[in-house]
């Protein structure tokens, strides 16, 4: 199993870089994961990351992209509820990339 080192602590990740243990997540870990993806997180990223974490808390799954798009539009405002906005924030896919940084597993239905 691969590990990443954040703040002197070794954290297990799977072969695609997703956290193995959800409880290992912290904002520091998120920043580290974002860095390895070439992203610098700003407020707009955090809004989506926090939304994803809340969604996971409530439903035990990471939402599929179109579910995320719809739900983000409803919760954060219509201008954010479209895939263009989300892909600008997370170029490698709001599902895969944002979920990885949020410490969630890969969304079900995201092949």
């Amino acid at each position: 199993m691969a590990t990443i080192s954040v703040g002197g602590k070794d954290i297990e990740v799977d072969e695609e870089g997703y956290l193995v243990t959800l409880d290992d997540w912290s904002e520091e870990v998120a920043n580290h994961l974002a860095q390895t993806e070439g992203l610098a997180l700003d407020e707009s990223h955090w809004e989506i990351i926090n939304f994803l974490r809340e969604y996971y808390q409530e439903y035990q799954i990471a939402p599929a992209v179109r579910v995320l798009t719809k739900a983000a539009g409803k919760k954060l405002g219509a201008e954010k509820g479209n895939s263009k906005y989300l892909y600008e924030l997370f170029p490698y896919g709001p599902g895969k990339q944002a979920c990885k940084i949020a410490g969630l597993p890969k969304p079900t239905g995201c092949i």
Partner: protein, 137 residues
């Protein structure tokens, strides 16, 4: 998303959760299949009704729980969860023992509506006759 005619898909769930992998597998196929925009219904028959019980807490058995996922189905356009009355009764359960699964109706100002439809065995049998595809778990 998909062209052509919309078909009626039924996922038939007859197994209890956790003891076997069927319930979780079914749920994953349902979520993946939801991308194809078909007319999807879920049926909970026999031990399948145990999948919907409320307050499932898997901490003690160190397994990942998935009962809350049923509440997300509405987001995936799945709003019909048929539960068989006789199956509940044979197991000493009533509708009160199940989660109150709801969805938001986009065509009705996001009004919250019940997803669970309690039907008799006879009605369940008739409903099955109306389906184009039945996937069993």
């Amino acid at each position: 998303m998909s062209e052509g005619t919309i078909k009626k898909f039924l996922y038939l769930n007859r197994k209890a959760p956790y003891g076997t992998i069927y319930a979780l597998e079914s749920l994953e196929v349902v979520l993946i299949g939801a991308a194809f925009d078909q007319d999807v219904s879920l049926a909970f028959v026999d031990d399948g009704v145990f999948q919907l019980t409320k307050n499932q807490n898997t901490k003690g058995i160190e397994m990942k729980g998935f009962s809350l996922v049923y509440n997300a189905l509405g987001d995936y356009g799945i709003t019909k969860l048929y539960v068989e009355k006789e199956s509940l009764e044979e197991r000493g359960l009533t509708l009160d023992d199940l989660q109150d699964v709801v969805y938001e109706d986009e065509n009705d100002d996001y009004a919250e509506k019940k997803s669970i439809l309690l039907v008799s065995r006879a009605e369940m049998g008739q409903m099955m006759e109306t389906q184009n595809v039945v996937l069993s778990f």
